[in-house]
Symmetry: C2
Subunit: 210 residues, 2 copies
Amino acid sequence: MARTGRPRSFDRESALDAAMRLFWLQGYEATTVSQLAAAMGKLSSASFYAAFGSKEILFREILERYEAIHGQALAPLSDTTLPPREAVERALRASVRMQTAPDLPTGCLVALGASGWSEHNAALAACVAETRARNRASFSACVDRAVAVGDLDPESNTAALGLMFDTVLLGLSIEARDRLPRAQLEEVVAVTMRLWDSFAPQGRAAATRG
Amino acid sequence: MARTGRPRSFDRESALDAAMRLFWLQGYEATTVSQLAAAMGKLSSASFYAAFGSKEILFREILERYEAIHGQALAPLSDTTLPPREAVERALRASVRMQTAPDLPTGCLVALGASGWSEHNAALAACVAETRARNRASFSACVDRAVAVGDLDPESNTAALGLMFDTVLLGLSIEARDRLPRAQLEEVVAVTMRLWDSFAPQGRAAATRG
DNA sequence: AGACTTATGAAGTGATCATTCCATAAATCT
DNA sequence: AGATTTATGGAATGATCACTTCATAAGTCT
């Protein structure tokens, strides 16, 4: 701390938050460096590049930051102390709340980042796609765990069920972006959890023993 | 037909198809007029503007064309001669096939068109959003019809069920864009239809009397 | 105080953006 | 044939793109 040289005149963290907001709202390609610099505190072009490297490098940092902060909504999926059904429900509900928070852009940056990429930025688009793939794998792992524990019937198509949760989460992002009210999206989550119950052994709901 | 003046040297229809492909693949903002003109048959800039007006006007025409051609996957939803359950399943399955067709861009132009818009093109983005809203309404109407006919239990949350189908369809678009194999997406549809059955009266599946 | 380090403001880079102009080409109409 | 109409190729428009250069400002270090 207290490094040598002239101190920067803006707060780097809040500048990152402003940048995240823009990328989240508009996507990578539709967001210009001028917009970014302005929103991040009326930075000069020189300050922007000195502090963040380039638009692409900034986006990569933002993506990491997004995962670290807002991606935590899906953390329950990896929490093996939670009963799998509760893990899935908590993840979906937390994500819906995040995606419809009044002070943040609607939808999920990672989900909505699936489109709007030209060939020129294919590498960066792939980076976001990998994040989606990891989320997908988390849902599947959680379902697998449920089967292992006996909470889901191994005879049913559990692979499809895992993918189904991912599908719903992604779809909710577009609906959140379309400004559907939070309550409606929460009802979709409730309906989705009914589906889990219909996959439970003996056709009965696995108790949420959390 | 056979109007006066020099005839154009390219086929307008196939030029439109090439433009649709680009917009579908990259989105509106990430697609440049140079890319369009090149893909549409190495048109000169002058020819492009003479024939299609502007990038925005072209996109509006493409959107209409997309709905007329590929949007027909959802036509079963409005076909009241079909049992509602079959209508939904046919629509979902036809859309998955369309979204994973080997000779077309993956995913749905309308669904993936939810992101990548800067403030400057808000009007155009709203146009695509309206299309999504119409599709949403079609699913709901189909579910309402099922309730009216007695195929779904009116006591259950049928509004959420209608929205659920829309959610799944939108989510499938992102997964198709992520190149998930068609078979997996079809399994998601199968799982989704199980959900319908769990909403049926007496907890039993409504027969597909089609 | 003076060397050193980092940040800033202003101006400018070439490239590309969507779009237009204009002379000419290629068809139909009288 | 000549007038009219539409399309084309090529060059050019100003705006904006991501990014750089550079002199100067504002700190810490010895």
